[in-house]
Structure formats: structure tokens, C-alpha cells
């Protein structure tokens, strides 16, 4: 039976095509000149360049971390190109009609139509292609509500005060090796500002696509929810099927001011590499939010892609009564490796956090949960509940759990539960006896295992995530 399960999860990667688009791409290599040129391409003010250079100088002195449960050849940072943009984007198209149709086709193929009338009602999209944002939809409608949703490169010019105030306020320049690199060379990403008391009228989403060979993508997202506001945001990502590994080092910062709520969902489907571990995206990402009084930050992630995932979306629960949540599904198969989890830093009184992590390992893959729950001295009455479940498919994969708990407050309560289970022959037999084939059986069992997390996703995307998992598990049985 387990052989059939193995076959059933043989993956087909639907997003692996390459778009024929002429690009302006920097030659590989990184030094201060490259950073100056990126800044120049983006027409940035002097303070931004200075900030980048400080980050770069800090990065030069830092060591690449090696504590994660991951094995890979050291990355040669001089062999990567740090900027690539479609030539047609140079003249800054004013409307979608002026955008290269090949770019629009690329997103259509990925199921992301950029024409507003064709889109899912109620979802605004920022489409980022390699190092630039192609288009951001529904901007006028959002502006009516006072919501700012635009490429971060544009925000730096149009809303410098807001950007200056918040960029690097949650993930400082020198936070960690990959974050520092991002600060130095970030190219595009999304900026969101929700004014006081506004409930964002639409779901916001950013769709990241890496296309160009030997190019890294370093995007940066900053979301600021002002007092009493509310926003739900989703990011999606794909890349072509290539034999070379490509680096994706992003930074996401969330700021939830008093009484605000931010829900951040990710459906990550970067190219995972082939059966033998050739190619695939290295996904080294720093995501962190700061929650002020009575606010709430909720991270939901569905991670099915990337050769390597190194990612710990975290919450700093600074304000009293603030709430942090982390719901995660990480699926690894083939030779994929994931080391992912969260950090919940409780600083305020009566802060609450919930962690639900579902790891699914198949093939020869390795899937690790790494999580830190820290109760600061001021975190009176704080509570955390962690649930960490692993599902093994086959007998060549591995699941690991690394929970870290630090408590400096005797009134704080931390709970941790962990389970490991297998897709059993008995379950497969029951499903097949009821007429279901092996593929359907595995995808149903896996979907059931992930249910708690899927129900946290915005409705449109919950369906998508379920489908993605099904495609990921699709194979050649029969």
C-alpha cells in the first residue's frame, strides 16, 4: 500500500513555465554600486539609499545562520543577479492597457487575471514580477475608503513619512543575515496603510512571480493597520521549473496599532525542485508583526513549495490584551526541506497566543517545526497554547519538533501538545473499499489533517489551498 501512496503523491508542478519576456537584468554580483543602482532605478530619496547601505555594511559583518535543520550548499551571493525587470516596465505603464500582454498572460496562466472585471470580486491584487510591481488593481476603490495599497517603491516616493516611520521598526536592519540582505537590496513588494477605524472593504493580495534565471527575489512588504482598523491580506508565490537554485529572501513587517486587526495569509508554491533535489527555490524569509494594545495579528500559511523553507512568522505582543495566532500547514515531499514555525513574544499583560502547526512529510523530505514562546516579566496572566501535529506518508521521510519555551513570569501559562501520525493502510483500505482511488484517498486524508488551518484562510483561498494540496499530491496511479 505504501508504494501506492508514494505514487499518489508524485508531484506535478503546474506553475513551472517560463515567460518569454525581455528583461533588464543586472549582471550577477553585489557591492555598494549595485545597491546605488537599485536605489537609482527606483528613484529613491537619499535617506532610503543611506538606509540600504547601512544594512549592507551590517550584513557584510554577519554570518549565515546554520542552526536550522537544513542541509544545502553554501549560497554564492556574488553569483546572483539582484535586479531584473521586464523592459516594457521601464516607461511605467499608466494603465493595464499599456502593460505587455505577455505579462498579463503569465498571470492569467497562473489563475490571477489582472483585469478587474475578470477578477474575484472583493480581492485587490498587486502583481510583482521579478523585481517590479506590474500592476495593482482596484486602487481607486480602495482610495475611496482611505486605504493605501501600492508597490512599496511607489510608497517610498508618495508616502515617505509613513514609510520612514515604520520600515525597519519591526524587523530592524541588522535583525538577521537574510533580513539584512533584504534591507540592502529589496526591490519591490507591497505597502498597505489602513486608516483609523476603517475596515478594509476588500481582501488585499500580492502575487509574487520569479521568472528570470539566476535572479534573486527580495521583496519587502509593510502593512500598517492604524487604530481600530481591520485588514485581511494574502500572498501567493510561484516560479518556473529550473535546474538552478534561486534565492528568495523576503521581509514582511506588520504593525497593528491599538484595537487593530491584521490577518495575513500565505499560499506558498515556489518551485520545489525535481525528484532528486535538483533546482528549486531557497526560501529564507523573515516575517514579524508587532501588536499594540487590544490588537490582533494572525498568520496563516500553507507552504507546499520551495526546495528549502526557512521561515518563522512571529508576533511581538507588546500591548496589553493583544492576541497572536499562527496557523501553518507545511507539506514537504521529494527532497524538500522545511524548517518553519513561529515566535510568540509576550510582553503585555493578558496577552494570548495560539499556535497550530501541521507538518506533512512524504518521499525523502524533512519537515521541522521550530517555535519559541517567550513570556516576558510584564506578561501577567499571559497564555499560550501550542498544538503541533506531524503526518508521515511513507517511511523515508522525517518530522522534527523543536519547541522552545522561556518564561520569566510565574502567572503566565504555556501549553504544548504534539502528535505524530501516519496515513495508515487501514485508512487507505477503508477509502478504497468505499470506491475512492489512492490519489483521492490520500488527498482526502491530508485535507482532513489540515482542516483546522484551512478554516482560518479567507474563503476564496481555502478552496484554492485545498486544490493546491490536491495538485501537489497528484500523481500517476491507475
Amino acid at each position: 500500500m505504501s508504494e501506492q501512496i508514494e505514487k499518489a503523491i508524485a508531484r506535478k508542478y503546474d506553475a513551472g513555465f517560463v515567460s518569454e519576456i525581455e528583461s533588464d537584468t543586472f549582471p550577477p554580483g553585489l557591492d555598494e554600486d549595485v545597491i546605488r543602482r537599485i536605489s537609482e532605478m527606483k528613484n529613491e530619496p537619499e535617506w532610503m539609499l543611506e538606509w540600504r547601505l547601512q544594512a549592507y555594511r551590517a550584513w557584510l559583518k554577519m554570518e549565515e545562520p546554520d542552526w536550522a535543520h537544513l542541509g544545502y550548499e553554501r549560497i554564492d551571493y556574488q553569483s546572483i543577479s539582484y535586479y531584473s525587470a521586464p523592459k516594457s516596465m521601464k516607461d511605467k505603464p499608466k494603465s493595464l492597457d499599456e502593460v505587455d500582454p505577455e505579462l498579463i498572460r503569465t498571470y492569467e496562466k497562473l489563475g490571477i487575471p489582472l483585469h478587474e472585471q475578470k477578477m474575484l470580486a472583493g480581492v485587490a491584487v498587486d502583481a510583482v514580477f521579478d523585481s517590479v510591481s506590474v500592476v495593482t488593481t482596484f486602487r481607486e476603490k480602495l482610495e475611496e475608503a482611505g486605504v493605501i495599497f501600492c508597490p512599496i517603491s511607489e510608497a517610498i516616493q508618495k508616502y515617505p513619512e509613513l514609510v520612514k516611520k515604520y520600515i525597519g521598526s519591526v524587523v530592524p536592519k541588522g535583525d538577521n543575515f537574510f533580513a539584512a540582505l533584504n534591507c540592502a537590496v529589496f526591490t519591490d513588494g507591497s505597502f498597505v496603510y489602513i486608516p483609523k477605524g476603517v475596515r478594509c472593504p476588500m481582501e488585499l493580495s500580492t502575487y509574487f512571480r520569479i521568472n528570470e534565471l539566476n535572479t534573486g527575489q527580495f521583496e519587502r512588504t509593510l502593512i500598517v493597520a492604524d487604530e481600530g482598523s481591520h485588514v485581511s491580506y494574502l500572498e501567493g508565490c510561484t516560479a518556473p521549473q529550473r535546474d538552478e537554485n534561486q534565492l528568495h529572501a523576503a521581509v514582511v513587517e506588520l504593525v497593528a496599532l491599538d484595537d487593530a486587526e491584521i490577518k495575513y495569509s500565505t499560499v506558498q508554491n515556489w518551485y520545489p525542485g525535481d525528484e532528486n533535489g535538483k533546482g528549486g527555490i531557497y526560501n529564507f524569509v523573515t516575517k514579524r508583526g508587532i501588536a499594540h494594545k487590544n490588537s490582533k495579528i494572525s498568520w496563516t500559511q500553507v507552504e507546499t513549495g520551495s526546495a528549502i523553507t526557512w521561515k518563522y512568522p512571529s508576533c511581538i505582543l507588546k500591548g496589553d490584551n493583544s492576541v497572536g495566532e499562527f496557523y501553518s500547514v507545511a507539506l514537504t515531499r521529494g527532497r524538500q526541506q522545511a524548517d518553519t514555525g513561529t515566535k510568540m513574544i509576550h510582553l503585555g499583560k493578558n496577552t494570548k497566543s495560539t499556535i497550530v502547526s501541521k507538518g506533512i512529510s512524504a518521499g525523502h523530505s524533512s519537515n521541522a517545526y521550530r517555535g519559541l514562546v517567550k513570556m516576558g516579566p510584564g506578561a501577567d496572566g499571559a497564555r499560550n497554547h501550542t498544538e503541533c501535529d506531524s503526518l508521515l506518508i511513507g517511511d523515508k521521510c522525517a518530522a522534527h519538533t523543536f519547541p522552545y519555551i522561556e518564561s520569566s513570569n510565574p502567572s503566565a501559562i504555556v501549553e504544548h501538545e504534539a502528535t505524530t501520525s501516519k496515513v495508515s493502510d487501514d485508512q487507505m483500505f477503508l477509502c478504497k473499499q468505499r470506491g475512492l482511488d489512492a490519489e483521492k484517498a490520500v488527498s482526502m486524508i491530508v485535507n482532513g489533517f489540515c482542516k483546522e488551518v484551512f478554516k482560518e484562510l479567507p474563503m476564496e483561498f481555502a478552496v484554492e489551498a485545498g486544490k493546491l494540496l490536491e495538485i501537489s499530491l497528484e500523481g500517476s496511479v491507475g
Binding site: F429, L430, Q433, R434, L436, D437, M444, G448
Partner: protein, 256 residues
């Protein structure tokens, strides 16, 4: 003929459990298979349905003219073979509703019929739920997740009612049931008897056969049918037990 089993020999790992079993079942008939633990009762159901590890050594099983051994597990099911499990397994997070809808639609697809919509299926499922006396929230709960033994058995019968198989094997569907639950299970099965569909009722005790009246009763011992007769044979077993078989009773049926 609904089912023709000829000289069936089957093994579990290295151990031969069935040693020359013959059985014919016509459409509409109910056959009871009784016997002591270790006789091979559950093995018969597993070999017929194709469970891994239950291997055919020789002989043949035909259902409605199809050689079952040539078919995958799900193909046998799609052709109308149903096994009500003795120990139904849990599938956490997958609701009964979802599971049964997929199952019913997989069968329909195999027959070239349109899939049922969620609303159509819900109506059917609610009726089936009532028929086996389970509250409607069972449809929302995970498959067998946290069900009591009796609830699991009733849930199997609910699936039987929804799938309307041509040939159903009930593997000790009476074990562990109190008299009320036993009646519910029996009523559920009886409601499905329509003169065309056939049943093989596997049981250790005669009790269930008071409620599901069989056309034939077979006594299975050490992998062969040693005696066949009408319903009166079950009564005989009730009074004399299996000691007359003269074989030592093995502790547990292999693989059951």
C-alpha cells in the same frame, strides 16, 4: 449468479487460512457464515474485497461474472461489493458527510452517472442518518472520530444504505452491540433487502440472525465450510456451540 467462490485457498503472510472454500450466492439471498474464532470468517471478506496482505493461493471468486481477483480494491467496490467493517478506522478531520459524498459520487461516476450535488446528497444522507438512529450532527463529525463502538457499527450500516451495494458483507456487525443497537443494525440491513441485492452476514453468535433472517447458514471451520443448512442450523449452533466441530479453537483470527 451473484457470487461464485470455487475452491478458495488464501493466506495471510505464511499462514494458509482458507483451505478450499466453496460458496454460491444468488441475487436476493442472505447467507450467514458462522464459526468459531480463527475459522477464517473475516479473512473471507478481506480476500473478497482485496485487502493488502490477504493473498489468493488458488481457486476463484466471481461476482456478477467478473473475476474479482483481476480488479483493484476500488473497482470491486464500484462494481457493488461492500464490506461493513468489524473495526472501522478513524479519519480525523474528514467529515462523514464529505467522505460519503465522495464515495457515493465515485460509485456514480464508475456507473457513468452524474455526480450528486451537495443538496441532493444532504437530503439522502439525512434520511439514512435517521434510519440508523444517529443524530444529524454525525454527518459533520470526522469519520468514526470519537464514535463509540455501537456508533461505528451503525455508521457502517448508514454507508450501506447510502451506497446500495449489490453484495454486502457484514463482518461481525453485531459484536459489542446491545439489543437496541442490534435491532437498529438489523432493521437497516432488512430495509435494503429487495429480492435483488445479496448479503453475507458473518457472525459468531446466532443472536443477530433472530433479526436478519438468513436463507442459508454455513458453518466455517478451519478454512472450509463444514456444514450448510437453513436458519435452523443457526439455532442448533446456539444450543450446542462449536465444540462438535472437534477442532481446537484458536485464540484470535489472524489479521482480524
Amino acid at each position: 449468479m451473484m457470487l461464485t467462490i470455487k475452491d478458495l485457498h488464501a493466506r495471510v503472510e505464511d499462514k494458509v487460512i482458507l483451505k478450499g472454500l466453496n460458496l454460491e450466492v444468488k441475487p436476493g439471498e442472505v447467507h450467514a457464515i458462522m464459526g468459531p474464532n480463527g475459522a477464517g470468517k473475516s479473512t473471507l471478506g478481506y480476500v473478497m474485497s482485496g485487502r493488502d496482505g490477504y493473498e489468493l493461493v488458488s481457486g476463484s471468486i466471481e461476482m456478477n461474472g467478473d473475476d474479482l481477483m483481476e480488479l483493484e480494491i476500488e473497482e470491486r467496490a464500484q462494481k457493488g461489493l461492500f464490506l461493513a467493517f468489524q473495526y472501522p478506522v478513524e479519519i480525523p478531520g474528514v467529515s462523514n458527510m464529505e467522505f460519503m459524498k465522495e464515495s457515493v459520487n465515485a460509485m456514480r461516476k464508475a456507473r457513468g452517472e452524474e455526480a450528486l450535488t451537495a443538496a441532493e446528497f444532504l437530503k439522502m444522507a439525512k434520511e439514512a442518518c435517521k434510519q440508523v438512529n444517529l443524530p444529524l450532527d454525525f454527518l459533520k463529525r470526522g469519520v468514526n472520530e470519537g464514535f463509540s463502538g455501537g456508533e461505528k457499527k451503525r455508521n457502517e450500516i448508514m454507508q450501506l444504505i447510502l451506497l446500495k451495494p449489490a453484495l454486502a458483507i457484514l463482518d461481525e456487525s453485531d459484536s459489542g452491540l446491545d439489543i437496541d443497537a442490534l435491532k437498529v443494525v438489523a432493521d437497516g440491513v432488512n430495509s435494503q433487502r429487495d429480492g435483488k441485492r445479496s448479503f453475507i452476514v458473518v457472525t459468531h453468535y446466532q443472536r443477530l440472525l433472530d433479526f436478519i433472517e438468513p436463507d442459508y447458514v454455513h458453518i466455517l471451520s478451519d478454512g472450509v465450510i463444514v456444514k450448510s443448512g437453513g436458519p435452523e442450523l443457526a439455532k442448533e449452533v446456539e444450543s450446542t456451540g462449536y465444540a462438535w466441530l472437534g477442532k481446537p479453537v484458536e485464540s484470535e483470527e489472524a489479521g482480524a
